[in-house]
Amino acid sequence: MSGAVLALRGIRKRFGTVQAVDGVDLDLNAGEIHALVGENGAGKSTLAAIAFGAVIPDEGTVETKAVVGLVHQHFQLVDRLNVWENVLLGREPKRGWRIDRAAARERVRALATEHGLDVDPDAIVETLPIGVQQRVELLRELERGPGVLLLDEPTAALAPTEIASFFRTITALAKAGTAVLIVTHKLQEVIDYSTRVTVMRSGRVVARYDTNATSTDEIARAMVGGELPPLAERAATTPAPRLSVRGLSAGNGGGGLVDGTFEVRAGEIVGVAGVEGNGQSALADALAGVTSYTGTIELDGVPLTATVTPAARLAAGVRVIPQDRRNEALVLGWSIAENVALGRHQTAPIRRGAILDRTAEAAATKEVIERFDVRPPDPQAVVDALSGGNQQKIVVGRALGAHPKLLVAYQPTRGIDVGAATLVQSRLIEARNAGVAVLLISFELDEIFALADRVLVMSGGRFVGAFDRANVDRGRVGALMAGGH
């Protein structure tokens, strides 16, 4: 073992018929930030789990000289406990046989301050926005003083400002001698913050670069094994009035929406830029009909106020791609086909009287699998076994397959690889070209600028700015998002 703090040699791991990792060597050195990139299913997360010791490889060796910490892509927090209880779970300071609450609180507060992570030690985890939950995950690992820190898609849920502060923390940790491995899809972050990059494809390492000697294009080509398909062309459309929202208030407290007024026309994508937790969830939920609200929502001039239920909204032609696909969009134990039917089962052709028409379901599923290149292309495959990117393709595909009038897409490419993300974005543009009104809620400014015809900015639950595609100013948008003027 050389100077590496963590050394993986000849790692192989098979799950059923899938060779997830196929002969990988990887060294992590003290003080480096090593990015591990690749498409969904390339074996990155498995490799990270092997490095952590949570998965035993079939072949190969793992040598470590330090405590290894892992921050999971899907948070491993106890929702009903508060922040310090989660951070110190199993390592609580004791006074006699009791937990020393004051000391625990202070320890977490000090740790948070030391690493520049802003979080209230007494907040209950399930009440916190995803971005803050992430900090709790990170704190829990940092508390153990790891010499190696593995981060599985740490910024997938974070807003731009949060990402910057997150990387300040990580960079400081690396400077202090921690070896950091970041599994990510975001190539710009790789270029901006990492020192080395390892690219995986189909379980193997296909390229390794020093970051300052490569580019996002080169990395992307290595990831997909060729050129990326270009984003779909934006066709000229003649926007006509479609969605009209006036004085909309929903939710309460920090994440609520206050007095929102805007329009989305047929054949345009309106992007909502903002830091997570500034009213976007309340906006999406009000449109989806899952929460009560005040104000008016009109679709094609018809108020949608008579019955506020998801069923009524679906019937009116409103489709929402929810933020949390695993809990809010999919039945993970079901097949692809049944998930395609879900939410389209109350109208023809999938509904035929009281009967669920399996033939229509199969046809709809075939369309989604083909248009979205879902892998595996097996309608009976269980959704839980698919990669995040393929799960998201199903969610987006079934929504667009219903030919909606209005599509609300909440973080439609969250946590999915560049190939799947490009495909989803292209399909959104095609839907726009075909006359769908698209409301794109995203924390990724790049995504908003790539797709939106108009950009609205949310801050503190209010709409604080509006720009046309032609004269949008990245700096202005960023300042408004951060609460400036």
């Binding site: 019937a315 929810p322 809010e328 039945v331 879900l342 109350q346």
Partner: protein, 340 residues
């Protein structure tokens, strides 16, 4: 073939068999009985003669109805512990109505069974209403309603619904026209087994092919995703508990019209509770539940002759049933821990 053994239901049945024979043998050895003699007596009692085999099927049928009801609620994510109470009230309604409907056989049988289903459905529906209206935990509601049902039935047959011609704790014999026809002469095996099997097939159809079954399963497996997909979770909870109770109540009515020909407060020796195990062993799949009900019917019925012929206390069967439940529930628990 390998795929067959990977099916969870097959592995569950395998575990059940190992527990039955393994633990059963140990228990018999402790009782100083040869396991060969004990199990011989058990199977002889369950299959030995036509009438014994018929009795096994009678027990299986009595379990199958409430097990199907429990499974329906389970599929909707609701734990209906109240099949026992729903079954008892279904029996009571059938026992009372059956005395009063001396019509042509078809009419009186249908009316009697319907009365049982409605009473059971009403009883299950109370828990469903409390769940959907106030979010009350259905486990606690149904568990308490069991006690209310048992006391209500006792009070009713000895109080306001007491017939001068009846003994304490019973209704009088039903009009003959309300008796279910037997399908094997000189046994108690009636067309109720056909009704139960048709119901299992119907339930499978409902789960797999209807919009209601689809929404029910979605609500059970992923309530938030179901809600956002337009499923009315409250309505599903109310309907699921009502239908669940109706199926259990129908089972109670078939015990009255097919087996006892009157309602008796001792109608059920706990069918509604064993049904929970039957539903779980059958993996909540109607057809497999029928298989599981048959297996439990063998145990229940063979236990009597095991006691008589081999001197094995029949309680051993209760122990075995309990262990099967623990083994399968434990397996399920471990599996659920692994996937999350």
């Amino acid at each position: 073939m390998a795929a067959f053994f990977r099916l969870r239901i097959v592995r569950d049945l395998g575990i059940a068999l190992i527990v039955v024979f393994g633990v059963g043998s140990i228990a018999m050895l402790l009782a100083h009985v040869s396991p060969f003699d004990g199990f011989y007596a058990l199977f002889d009692g369950a299959f030995g003669t036509t009438s014994e085999f018929a009795e096994t099927l009678v027990s299986a049928t009595a379990l199958l109805f409430p097990a199907l009801g429990v499974a329906l609620a389970f599929r909707a994510g609701l734990f209906n512990i109240g099949a026992e109470g729903q079954l008892v009230l279904g029996g009571l309604a059938a026992g009372v109505i059956g005395v009063f409907v001396p019509g042509p056989p078809v009419v009186s049988i249908v009316a009697t069974l319907l009365a049982g289903a409605i009473a059971g459905g009403f009883w299950g529906g109370i828990a469903g209403f409390l769940k959907s209206r106030f979010g009350a935990n259905e486990v606690i509601a149904t568990l308490m309603l069991n006690v209310v049902a048992a006391l209500l039935a006792t009070y009713a047959v000895d109080g306001p619904l007491h017939f001068a011609t009846a003994n304490e704790g019973e209704t009088p014999l039903l009009a003959k026209t309300a008796w279910l026809p037997t399908i094997v002469p000189d046994t108690r095996l009636t067309i109720s087994i056909v009704i139960a099997l048709l119901l299992a097939l119907a339930l499978r159809f409902v789960f797999n092919r209807t919009i209601f079954g689809f929404e029910l399963r979605a609500a059970g497996e992923a309530p938030e995703a179901a809600r956002r997909a337009g499923v009315d979770l409250r309505s599903i909870a109310l309907q699921a508990m009502t239908y669940s109770g109706a199926i259990a109540g129908l089972g109670g009515a078939t015990l009255v019209t097919g087996v006892l020909h009157r309602f008796n407060t001792g109608l059920s020796p706990g069918y509604g509770f064993v049904a929970i195990a039957v539903a779980l062993v059958g993996n909540l799949e109607p057809i497999w539940i029928a298989v599981a009900a048959f297996a439990f019917g063998i145990l229940q019925n063979g236990a009597l002759s095991m006691q008589a012929e081999a001197n094995v206390p029949r309680d051993i069967v209760n122990v075995i049933e309990g262990l099967v439940i623990i083994a399968l529930a434990g397996r399920r628990y471990i599996a659920s821990r692994r996937t999350t």
